[in-house]
């Protein structure tokens, strides 16, 4: 592969040799050790699942437009929301930002040639693909597939219909393949978790060992801190999935009661296991997005990030607290009032560092010189959406209120504000922001802004009505509803189409611009500081042509405060 960073083309011009064109064979992609190619392979895989998950959401919303003349049977609806949840969570947004932007940017941001263990990085990708395959088998129904392959009498086909939370004993007794579907899904989560653990480990070692000389910890980008905190969660939380898997198998194969009360088990124990992993996972999804927003706002405001140390420590703080809030998903399942109060208190402890982050982002814009590139629009939308996500989270953290809101559309709306409004908008913002670095070209900004407005308005029209449905007492996971819920459901369905169309347009715009745009980006189109902008766009295989300069701080925008007056005078 590209040993020489520059080569000469057929007619003798100096031709840039980058990570994309240094070798074009399929083999060179599937066996690549280049963190940038691995990032793109992750991106392509994630987009497939994002598309499929989105499609099932559209079917659900269409069905809910008119439940008098239903589009889907109740079973089909249950399968649709399970499919949506499982794909979006486990195959799309959990790997999400770390796998794509983390992989692409982390070495570039710290001035390294690659991650610490490039082979392990490729292995993580393959493990992710294996996990996705196992997950899809779990969704389709492993028992049915086995019977089909053996050619024996095929019973009625039921794909996985447990919801993405797989609560026992429903998930272990019915659903796809009498519980084997759930075991396969847990296996898939475990395999995918291994991919996460290896990626997390790789990133942590990379950050510890491969920083360019002089790039000390408190000069690191806030995005790298976000990735670091995320990696720590991945490494520590994922093993719990393995334990759960083992217990499910022991129960199924040996009939030892662990979760199933019919065998003497405790179904609440399952919920503890599930959320002990799945709550920290929520922070795996959003912490890197916080980092992205912290990178974008300074560049387009020409200001240093406000309160760098607080931003860093709030990420670390959120990561730590994320491990002790899990049971706030279980207030109505009958825990003791004391434990409920404790988990309510720990949950509120997350609110403070999150609030600090928002204050810091907004303050960064103070006295800036603000440009409204699409990436900046997404970042500002993120602040707005995350305010709603955060404040609606307060309602759910309040013990007495959650007794009502739990398992209603309020939770659905809150969750989508954090995950779609947070993680997905963060990912899309990042993809726009670093698109010139990834592809070497500029995208069409007009189309990107149109797509932004469709996503922003569509998203709010979809989910604000769901908050109202929640306040009205509409339970989630219902294929049917009483007449009083109809207007808000219809409005929500209406918004879905704008939202879906917006995402399609945004992604097609990027893809089209990459393939056909003639506008070259150059190494540093935003005139930004930070090491990744010192590498050519797209970067060569080894990232940097000349060793990156770490003398100028990443956030050293603007003029030192004591010199501002002087400068103003000079300018006027």
């Amino acid at each position: 592969m590209g040993i020489h960073s520059y080569a000469v083309d057929e007619i003798g011009h100096l031709k840039e040799n980058n990570y994309l064109n240094c070798d074009k064979s399929l083999r060179s992609w599937l066996f690549t050790l280049d963190h940038k190619r691995i990032a793109l392979l992750y991106l392509a895989s994630l987009l497939v699942f994002f598309f499929l998950g989105g499609l099932s959401a559209i079917f659900m919303r269409l069905h809910l437009y008119n439940v008098e003349k239903p589009l889907l049977s109740p079973d089909a609806y249950n399968v649709a929301f399970t499919f949506h949840g499982v794909l979006m969570i486990f195959l799309f947004i959990v790997p999400g930002i770390p796998a794509v932007l983390g992989n692409f940017l982390l070495p570039l941001m710290i001035g390294a040639k690659d991650v610490a263990f490039p082979r392990l990085n490729l292995l993580s990708l393959w493990i992710y693909w294996l996990g996705a395959l196992v997950g899809i088998i779990g969704i389709i129904n492993p028992v049915w597939i086995l019977k089909y392959l053996q050619g024996s009498a095929i019973s009625q086909w039921i794909p996985l219909d447990t919801g993405w939370t797989f609560y026992a004993p429903y998930s272990t007794s019915t659903g796809a393949g009498e519980g084997w579907g759930t075991i396969m899904m847990t296996l898939a989560a475990f395999i995918l978790g291994f991919s996460s653990i290896l990626t997390g480990l790789n990133f942590m070692v990379t950050i510890h060992r491969l920083r360019a000389p002089g790039l000390t910890w408190f000069k690191l980008p806030v995005f790298v801190w976000g990735i670091y905190a995320t990696s720590a969660i991945q490494v520590l939380a994922t093993p719990v999935v393995g334990i759960t898997l083992l217990l499910l198998i022991v129960e199924k194969v040996f009939g030892i009661g662990i979760f199933d009360p019919a065998k003497g088990g405790d179904p609440i124990l399952y919920q503890h296991f599930f959320w002990f992993y799945s709550h920290p996972v929520v922070y795996i999804m959003v912490l890197p997005a916080f980092g992205i927003i912290g990178e974008i706002i300074p560049v387009f405001s020409r200001k240093p990030i406000f309160g760098y140390t607080a931003v860093v420590f709030s990420s670390v703080g959120i990561a730590v607290v994320s491990f002790i809030v899990w049971a706030h998903h279980m207030y109505t399942s009958g825990m003791s009032p004391f434990s409920q109060a404790v988990f309510s208190a720990t949950t509120f402890a997350v609110a403070v560092p999150t609030a600090i982050k928002v204050f810091n982002w907004v303050s960064t814009m103070y006295k800036g010189s603000i440009r409204f590139d699409p990436a900046m629009l997404y970042a500002m939308a993120f602040v707005f959406l995350f305010m709603i996500a955060g404040t609606s989270g307060i309602f759910l953290a309040v013990l007495g209120l959650d007794i009502f809101y739990h398992d209603t559309y309020f939770v659905v709306a809150h969750f989508h504000y954090t995950i779609q409004g947070g993680a997905v908008i963060g990912l899309i913002a990042g993809l726009h922001f670093w698109f010139p670095k990834i592809t070497g070209r500029m995208y069409n900004p007009g189309v990107a802004k149109l797509a932004f407005w469709l996503i922003f308005l569509g998203f709010n029209v979809t989910f604000i009505p769901q908050f109202i449905l929640g306040v009205q007492g509409m339970p989630r996971r219902y294929a049917f509803y009483l007449p009083e819920f109809e207007p808000m459901h219809r409005l929500s369905t209406f918004g879905t189409f704008f939202n879906a169309f917006g995402y399609t347009l945004a992604i097609l715009n990027l893809a089209w611009s990459w393939a056909f745009s003639k506008v070259k980006a150059g190494a540093n189109p935003y005139d930004a500081l930070g090491l990744e902008w010192q590498a050519p766009s797209p970067p060569p295989h080894d990232n940097f042509v000349v060793p990156p300069n770490v003398e100028i701080g990443r956030y050293d925008y603007g003029v030192p405060v004591n010199l501002v007056a002087q400068k103003e005078v000079v300018r006027s």
Partner: protein, 431 residues
Amino acid sequence: MDYIVPDKVSTVADFFDDLNLAIFLASAFFTVAIVGAMLYFAFRYRAKSSNDITPRIEGNHLLEIVWTVVPTVVVVVIAWVGIVLREKMFEVSPNVIPIYVTAWKWAWEFRYPTGKRTSGQNAELVVPVNKPVKLVIASKDVIHSLFIPAVRIKQDAVPGQLKYMTFTALKTGEYPIFCAEYCGTRHSYMMAKLRVVSEEEFNTWVNTIPEKTMPKRILGKKLYTDLGCNACHSVESGVNLVGPSFYDVFGAQRNFKDGTSLTADENYILESILYPNKRVVQGFNENVMPSYEGRLSQEELMALVSFIVELKTAPKEELVEVVFEKDEKIDLEKMTPLERGKYLYSAKGCNACHSVDGSQLVGPSFKGLHGARREFADGSSVVADDSYIKDSILNPNARIVKGFVAAMPSYQGQLNEDDLAGIVEFIKSLK
């Protein structure tokens, strides 16, 4: 908010709505302030040229301390009020009317101490206005969740455990009840009704038990909806929901998954109600239908069977009746008191909560119970003799043994003197 919140029916609803509104206003204030500041900055400091001078402000300690402390104080206060609200929601007042709630796929059942029961399609939770009620909640199969928006409370029904919920309704009327925990195919149809009535109306209602006097055919039809059979079995020819249509059953050839087959008769129908997973018809799934063994009286079972049979044929009531009555009478009367007690122990479902080997289930074990000293929650104690045991069966909640909850229904009217004597003998035998 008053436009969109559900009807306010319970004593905690006002507290709930006030707290809800207060947090909404606080959230709206902070959101508008922060997003407003962002938009103001975006407008005020929009780029005028590519070489605008910006100050390198890296932070401000005072400001940062303020915006750490203020949210901390705000959330501590909110968290505290939330805990207080939760305490209020689950505070059980004395003189509470117990109602036993059972959930299964996919129906609710509400049972009253008088023996009054509503369930399935007609499930109604009828409560008197201004009187506290306590719901003791159980599940037969998977996790369900009893959600009554009008009283602002929700409680999961967890198999193998008893949970409780309490409220005082303040306004007569009818309000929806939902299952809020996903439980499969018909989850979204697992609804019931809360009906709040005047105390007089409640007393009349709870003491009128139509099942006892109803003709069989009508009772069968009522059970068909009350038990929620209709959720999965239609009565129309060829319409198969989750289970086979009842219309097509009687006299038809049934082909089972294990390869056997038979022509459906009354006995087969009875078997399918009691042991639904023993033989499953091809094209349908195992372990979907719960067993109704021990949940229905002989009279109710008979009524259901005859209802299904008569959908297709001329009445065969007499035949069915003879079979059952012979069974029950001969079996019980021929038994010794000990045999009778042993039989009733499982037939009446005592075994669900009371073990015979000393292990503690929901209630105290029967082993070694007779002659032992019983310590009650109120501090008093007594030696368990025959009359104490009989009394505990008829008025189980009069005195509760320390460490247990008031969960047992009264068997008043369900057992005669001979039955009680039999059970006492049975317990005595467990030394």
